[in-house]
Amino acid sequence: MTKMNLTHFEAAFLFALLASVVLGIVTKNNDRERLRYGAYCFAYFLVALFGIAWVMKLGHG
């Protein structure tokens, strides 16, 4: 199997997307709420991703 090389951003983006799909499905009771919650989770993952990335960049100077 060939080795897949991803950047930090690509790997974290894929993780956020796939985890949000599962969290949306298992958490809520109807499709509309599932879609909404999945989108919220994905958005929060991305906000955390960019936020933590900036904190690390500024922390390293």
Partner: protein
Amino acid sequence: MATTAKAIAKPALPPIGVWLPPVLVSWLIPGGGHFLLKRRGRAALLLAAISLMFLLGLMMRGAMFTPKGGDPLTTLINYGGFVGDLASGALYLLAMMLGYTQPDAAGHVHDYGTKFLVSAGLLNILAMVDTFEIAAKRKS
């Protein structure tokens, strides 16, 4: 008062034959329990998301955990990681049988791979809990 106590009381656990087979299928095949309970759309999405996360972990050459002891933190990480890997069901068993285990290596891609493999199992545990709730008629 009686109404409040009734509202707080936990619903009785349904017979084991009702929820155990779908939960076991859900462990073995991600989304399989939902498929058995005729939630086919959700089953397909769970299968795709969890399998893709596991396969990406393998392609990034993530390491599989083995239940090894040592100091308390090492024991916790190894046993916790092993449970996470094992929770992927057939994906984990197939990967082990076909020799896709990788030694732990330095580098961010390997590290992400290891986390993807464990996370796929942890997400499958959430899917198993959801299967239980659907089988027990606590959720639609």
